[in-house]
């Protein structure tokens, strides 16, 4: 009898235990279908076009809105990255470029629906693109780089056919439509919220998403979190499926150590902006998946203002280039995570490729540096300041200390100046800084695009205040060059001028370290340097 009892109670206990264990597992189930992404930045607007939008806002808009087309993906050293050369349809089922390259015709997906259930029509596309080139928003300057400047270029043929006309063939026109800004908005909904002062409903789209994208924004708390649910009607996922995760949580966690703890404890699924040291230790422990991709559309520089003495002297710039302790900087700032842009060998001293950026044939050589300094008539050196912004202190601070130490050896006295971000931007815009570090990014990383945007003109992005007639001429010509071989030659010529004149010194492409749970699959490095949530799934 007693045996029977204990057996029964054992059974009861087991059942109770099972119930108790089952309760939290129901909870865990919902977590399995959710992607929790933590970031140090914040989403500050739901419309990526609003001036001041953060990169996290761009990433969210990639999922809440569709564009006409999107970039494909390719493998680079075994890692998936976006592919500038494959443009696939997103809202467009297909597109056709006319033989003279002046007309692009898009056939829209007949089954595409906005998140409120209404169909996506060519009228919506027209309104959205008109807005992008007319309203005072960020898309305007971007689309300009693809010869898209006026609403006259956009035409509705029928409800599902849309046509773009170009003044001349521009190979960046189509890729531009795949970038962050030319989102296709539910025009009926947006127009209903437009006012006389705000005809393009910018104030409304800032806080409301009216797209046809894979995720529907549920709660949006700027500076804290965004929660979005999957749109079941969205079928642009591979192959013709909605996105894999049912729910998306994008949460701001300012402290990098906390982000590392969260992902290590399994509470967060994915994080891309950890400190290099944390990534290294997490990778060492081997419990998490770490995908480290050099940001192949970004470059970190040590810049010199070519109009401020003594940096207006090419020999001073060359001297600096040979006096930088590249290897030490790379280890101290990035723990070696990234792709170095120094220490190459160029056969016959000529650039081996017309790509941008390419590793430069420079390394630390103090003798050479001293010789150049002598040629510049400054054998005794000079004094200058080296600036960086607080936001980049984690990598720039150790770098600055090493620059100071190394330049002291050739008689150049460096004062380190750490500036708050807004102050640094202002000083750069006013061309006041002689010597500093900065980074550049291009969404459409073609050689002419880099040279036109970052080495010509008086705008802010010309960090080194470069003014070189030959470079400008070649870069402008290359823009519309259709012949691939010729384009490559032009690229080589540009790279040769860059190296000869040493406007600024490219040092590396930092790695984008995506740290995720081993179950998370499908990560692709994107042109936004953010995560495209639509790619991800759980194994």
């Amino acid at each position: 009898m007693s045996f029977e009892m204990s057996k029964r109670s054992l059974f009861a206990a087991t059942a109770l235990l099972a119930v108790m264990l089952a309760a939290p597992s129901a909870h865990a189930q919902s977590r399995a279908e959710t992607l929790r992404y933590v970031t140090g930045a914040t989403v500050n607007t739901l419309d990526p076009n609003i001036p001041g939008s953060t990169r996290e806002a761009f990433a969210l808009s990639m999922s809440s809105y569709d564009r006409l087309v999107s970039f494909g993906r390719k493998q680079l050293n075994g890692k998936w990255v976006f592919d500038l050369d494959t443009i696939t349809g997103e809202l467009a089922e297909s597109y056709q470029v006319s033989s003279d390259g002046l007309k692009i015709t898009f056939k829209l997906r007949p089954d595409a629906k906005f998140q409120d259930g209404s169909p996506v029509t060519a009228e919506d596309v027209k309104w959205s693109l008109d807005r992008c080139v007319t309203a005072p928003i960020l898309g305007k300057a971007q689309l300009l780089t693809g010869s898209l400047t006026s609403a006259d270029q956009f035409k509705v043929i029928d409800p599902l056919t849309f046509e773009v006309t170009l003044p001349k063939p521009d190979k960046l026109a189509l890729p531009n439509l795949a970038t962050v800004y030319p989102i296709i908005i539910n025009s009926k909904l947006a127009k209903a919220h437009a006012t006389a002062e705000d005809p393009w409903a910018l104030n409304w789209t800032k806080e409301n998403a009216a797209g046809s994208g894979a995720y529907i924004v549920e709660t949006f708390k700027p500076g804290e979190q965004v929660i979005a649910k999957r749109s079941e009607a969205w079928n642009r996922g591979a192959p013709d499926k909605p996105a894999a995760f049912k729910r998306l949580i994008i949460q701001s966690v300012p402290e990098p150590a906390t982000r590392a703890n969260l992902v290590e404890r399994g509470d967060a699924d994915l994080v891309i902006d950890l400190q290099a040291s944390d990534v290294q230790s997490l990778e060492g422990k081997g419990k998490l998946k770490v995908i480290s991709t050099p940001q192949y559309n970004a470059v970190t520089f040590i810049s010199m203002n070519n109009t401020i003495p003594p940096f207006d002297n090419v020999n001073v710039r060359r001297a600096i280039a040979y006096a930088l302790p590249y290897d030490d900087m790379f280890k101290a700032a990035l723990f070696g995570r990234g792709a170095p842009l120094y220490g190459a060998t160029w056969a016959d001293g000529k650039p081996p490729s017309g790509g941008y950026p390419i590793p430069q044939p420079i390394k630390l050589d103090l003798e050479k540096a001293r010789a150049y300094l002598k040629d510049a008539g400054m054998a005794d050196g000079f004094s200058t300041t080296f600036s960086f912004n607080v936001g980049q202190a984690a990598t720039a601070e150790p770098m600055a200390a090493l620059v100071k130490e190394s330049l002291a050896k050739i008689g150049i006295k460096v004062d380190i100046q750490k500036l708050p971000d807004a102050q640094m931007s202002t000083a750069i815009n006013e061309k006041k800084l002689p010597f500093f570090t900065e980074g550049i990014v291009a969404w459409l990383p073609s050689t002419d695009y880099f040279y036109r945007n970052f080495y010509t003109g008086k705008q802010r992005w010309n960090y080194s205040s470069t003014d070189n007639a030959e470079l400008e001429k070649i870069a402008q010509e290359a823009r519309f060059e259709a012949d691939k071989a010729k384009y490559e030659e032009q690229g080589k010529a540009l790279n040769a001028i860059h190296f000869d004149q040493m406007f600024q010194i490219p040092i590396w492409q930092a790695a984008q370290d995506a740290v995720m749970q081993p179950t998370v699959d499908g990560y692709v490095y994107q042109f936004t340097r953010q995560v495209d949530y639509r790619n991800l799934s759980r194994k």
Binding site: H27, S30, R31, T34, R36, V38, T42, N44, T45, I50, P51, G52, S53, P136, L138, K140, A141, Q142, L144, T145, K206, E207, K221, P222, G223, E224, Q225, I249, Q251, S252, V253, P254, E255, A257, T258, N261, L262, E264, R265, D267, V390, G391, P420, D421, A422, Q423, S425, T426, A427, N429, V441, A442, W443, N453, Q459, R460, W461
Partner: protein
């Protein structure tokens, strides 16, 4: 009844007399923000391809294209109507941002202050009862440790031990578990809202989330509170009325609590008021470490990017709170020592 009316009247007079100071703060921060280097328009136009045209658009949006006196006049007019401007950083109205975030900061700070007072006052009393003893030294050591370890260090340490190693604390991000459903917002204080909604489980989740950050902040301010308690207890214990009370044979407890402590508590209230005001502004690091969506981390982010409106709004808010806390201290004074109301 009369004393309450008198206290209220006095508080009202004090509040009105502090209005010019608030106005001064308003104008001063406005000017200060514009004198500081760093142009918000340039910073926020930092997206790829943002050129001079975009900078001008933002400058117009922020009203920075107008002459300074005009800007000030517009700003004062707006503030008068309760409009604190718009934050570029979050894209929201500053008044809305502050309103949403202030309860988070207040909840954290008040909890921390409560923890600090509950532990500091007994510690101070203990130390004062046996000056120079082992207990006294122990309290001194504890206080020194608390005050000399910066909050972000103790915060990260607590996270490391209680979240990372032991797994006892919930993940240190924000006010509530990200998967939990929020109670209907009544006061903005989560632990009160959960109770009002009768959701015990939610209340416990919110309380657990609050524990580590509040503890971090409390550790930092226990020292001044305990030291002040000890010092004024010593004075009070050595005074004539305590000696008299002892001589008539009153119980130990009654002497210490009713006579000595009640008299010793006045400076503690003063310090607590000051400590509270500084904590509210100074908990930036705690808010950062614990991703706490409060006003201090909001103001710091805004300052870094020269986002004028939030910084100005924050300073105004802090000044107002400072005035209110001072009033409150006055009122508490009156309750602790009725003679104070006459003054």
């Amino acid at each position: 009844m009369g004393t309450i009316v008198a206290t209220l009247a006095r508080a009202g007079r004090r509040f009105v007399s502090s209005l010019p100071a608030l106005f001064g703060v308003l104008v001063f921060t406005f000017l200060l923000m514009r004198v500081l280097p760093g142009d918000p328009a340039v910073f926020f136009a930092s997206g790829p391809n943002a050129g001079q045209e975009e900078i001008e658009v933002i400058r117009r949006q922020l009203g920075l294209d107008k002459p300074l006196p005009n800007q000030l006049a517009i700003y004062l007019y707006d503030v008068g109507r309760g409009n604190l401007g718009r934050s570029m950083m979050t894209g929201q109205a500053v008044a809305k941002d502050l309103k949403e975030r202030l309860p988070a900061s207040l909840e954290l700070t008040l909890t921390a202050l409560l923890i600090a007072l509950v532990s500091a006052v007994p510690l101070g009393v203990l130390a004062a009862l046996r000056p120079g003893s082992l207990v006294d030294h122990g309290v001194r050591l504890f206080c020194s440790l608390g005050v000399c370890v910066p909050t972000f260090v103790s915060g990260l340490l607590l996270i490391y031990v209680f979240y990372y190693l032991l797994g006892l604390a919930p993940d240190p991000t924000g006010r509530i578990d990200i998967f939990a459903t929020l109670p209907p917002s009544r006061t903005g204080f989560l632990i009160i809202d959960f109770l009002l909604a009768g959701d015990v489980e939610g209340w416990w989740a919110a309380a657990r989330q609050l524990m580590l950050p509040a503890l971090t902040m409390a550790l930092f301010v226990i020292a001044p509170l305990a030291r002040i308690t000890r010092a004024s207890m010593l004075v009070s214990l050595g005074s004539d009325f305590v000696r008299t009370a002892r001589s008539v044979g009153l119980s130990w407890w009654r002497i210490v609590v009713t006579y000595a402590l009640r008299n010793a508590i006045l400076p503690v209230i003063t310090i607590a008021g000051i400590v509270f005001s500084t904590m509210l502004g100074a908990n930036v690091l705690v808010e950062k470490v614990f991703s706490w969506p409060g006003v201090a981390s909001y103001a710091l982010d805004a300052l870094l990017v020269s986002d004028y409106a939030p910084v100005q709004g924050f300073v105004l808010l802090m000044a107002t709170i400072f005035v209110i806390v001072n009033l409150l201290v006055d009122v508490l004074y009156g309750i602790a020592d009725p003679r104070a109301t006459v003054a």
